[in-house]
């Protein structure tokens, strides 16, 4: 799941409604200011019984865990299903960039991947969603009409063949039905 401006509230709500016995991992990339370090994982953790943690480099990705991209690094996924971190140039003015995570996840998880793009004020994640589709995964967006800042999901809708468009209230249920 990726988001920028206006996505935090959505994430908090979704996590509070997601079941605690998920058979897959959730990876969250949210744009935020460098230095706002470990606040986000603990904030998200307060809403769910799932384990929520900042992704560590070389960490094995396991089911039933929610990983949050650390601030100021791109979060990449390796073929052996571990994370790696990257401090290269910002992409779409962002580090972490949603595109970087979506693109590398696409090649690893292929048709087992569902990527969800939430509210946000730039087009980060759109190229990533295209890549997800090319590798057989699903592209899902928050309904731009429900987004605090519609630009990000709107751009995705314009540029990518979207599988599902979900209102805020439907996101958790959608996730709960995945397996």
């Amino acid at each position: 799941m990726g988001g920028s401006a206006g996505s935090l509230e959505v994430l908090l709500r979704v996590l509070s409604e997601v079941r605690s016995d998920l058979s897959f991992p959730i990876i969250i990339v949210v744009h935020r200011k460098h230095g706002a370090d470990s606040l986000l994982p603990s904030l998200l953790a307060s809403r769910t019984r799932l384990i929520v943690k900042e992704a560590d480099e070389k960490e094995m990705i396991v089911a039933g865990t929610v990983y949050v991209a650390p601030s100021d690094y791109h979060l990449l996924i390796e073929q052996d299903r571990t994370f790696s971190l990257d401090y290269s140039e910002k992409i779409n003015y962002s580090r972490p960039a949603i595109d970087a995570t979506f693109q590398t996840a696409a090649e690893v998880y292929k048709n087992k991947l569902v990527c969800l793009l939430l509210s946000g004020s730039n087009a980060d994640g759109v190229i990533g969603l295209k890549c997800v589709k090319a590798w057989g995964g699903q592209a899902v967006i928050q309904d731009p009409a429900s987004a605090q800042v519609a630009y990000m999901p709107e751009q995705a809708k314009l540029q990518v063949e979207i599988d599902r468009i979900l209102g805020i209230e439907d996101i958790a249920e959608f996730i709960n039905l995945l397996s």
Binding site: D56, E57, K58, P70, D72, Y73, L76, I77, E78, Q79, S84, L85, D86, Y87, S88, E89, A100, Q103, T104, E107
Partner: protein, 273 residues
């Protein structure tokens, strides 16, 4: 786009033709960098791209420069530099001579940052900073000591947050779009190529800094590089890594004691010290 198999071909070409060993690099990042260059340079085909790298020395140089990450800033993570200034460097100041190794120095911003702090602590005259990188092109830039004027506001803020009390602009002269840092600052910096993958220990240091380099290496290579640092560090010396890097789980972990709250470890000669 570039496939995983093509990445492996290029890695083996580089090793065979130039002796540059990227086999221990994390693939996701490497693949992204290669793909980026491939589209940037508008190669007509992978075969052409590969041929070019293999046979054209100048293009090979560009390739290495572009696939390694050279993003850095002055006083990046000010709280880290504050700990260097307040805790580590004063400790080293008790030695007659201070040797520092900055491994993976890229374009030199951290080397100049450390030089500024040593100067302010009155230690620069008895210090030597060995700033190394595998990439000759970035070292050339580093040796010029010129950075974009547009960055100076950010660097000045970082400097102040790191405990700096001078007027940051006294350290450089503005030259159109570039800030040229004082010659004095680089007199004690030796810029030199060193490849962490294949080169050996070349001196003993009291402080080794290597921040945001290990993240690009696979686990085995990370451990080898930490061994290299261990060989190159005096007892009671300090090792500084990036925000998301650690010596935990490595072979050297038991000899290193972490400064609470920081990615700085001190080499202790026996456990429990």
């Amino acid at each position: 786009m570039i496939s995983d198999e093509q990445v492996e071909m290029l890695i083996s070409d580089l090793l065979e033709q130039y002796g540059y060993d990227f086999t221990g690099y994390s693939r996701a990042s490497l693949k992204r960098r290669i793909s980026r260059l491939y589209s940037l340079d508008k190669a007509l085909s992978f075969a052409e791209f590969r041929y070019h790298i293999y046979n054209d020395q100048a293009y090979f140089k560009r390739f290495v420069e572009q696939i390694t990450v050279n993003v850095t800033e002055m006083f990046r993570d000010p709280s880290f530099f504050k700990t260097l200034r307040d805790v580590v460097l004063p400790k080293l100041g008790t030695y007659p001579f201070i040797r520092i190794w900055l491994a993976g120095c890229s374009t030199g911003e951290e080397a100049y940052s450390i030089s500024i702090m040593l100067k302010e602590l009155n230690l620069l005259h008895k210090s030597l900073i060995y700033a190394t990188d595998l990439n000759p092109a970035v070292l050339e830039k580093a040796a010029h000591g010129m950075f974009a004027m547009s960055q100076m506001k950010q660097y000045s803020e970082n400097y102040i947050l790191s405990g700096g009390t001078q007027d940051f602009s006294t350290y450089y002269t503005a030259n159109y779009s570039l800030a040229k840092f004082d010659e004095e600052l680089k007199q004690k910096i030796i810029f030199s190529t060193h490849n962490l993958v294949s080169d050996h220990s070349f001196n003993e240091f009291q402080l080794i800094l290597c921040r945001n380099v290990l993240i690009y290496f696979e686990r085995d290579l990370q451990h080898n590089v930490l061994d290299l640092f261990d060989e190159s560090l005096e007892d009671l010396g300090y090792l500084a890594l990036g925000t998301k890097e650690t010596v935990d789980f490595s072979r050297i972990a038991k000899r290193y004691k972490r400064l609470p709250g920081h990615k700085i470890w001190r080499k202790v000669d026996h456990e429990g010290m």
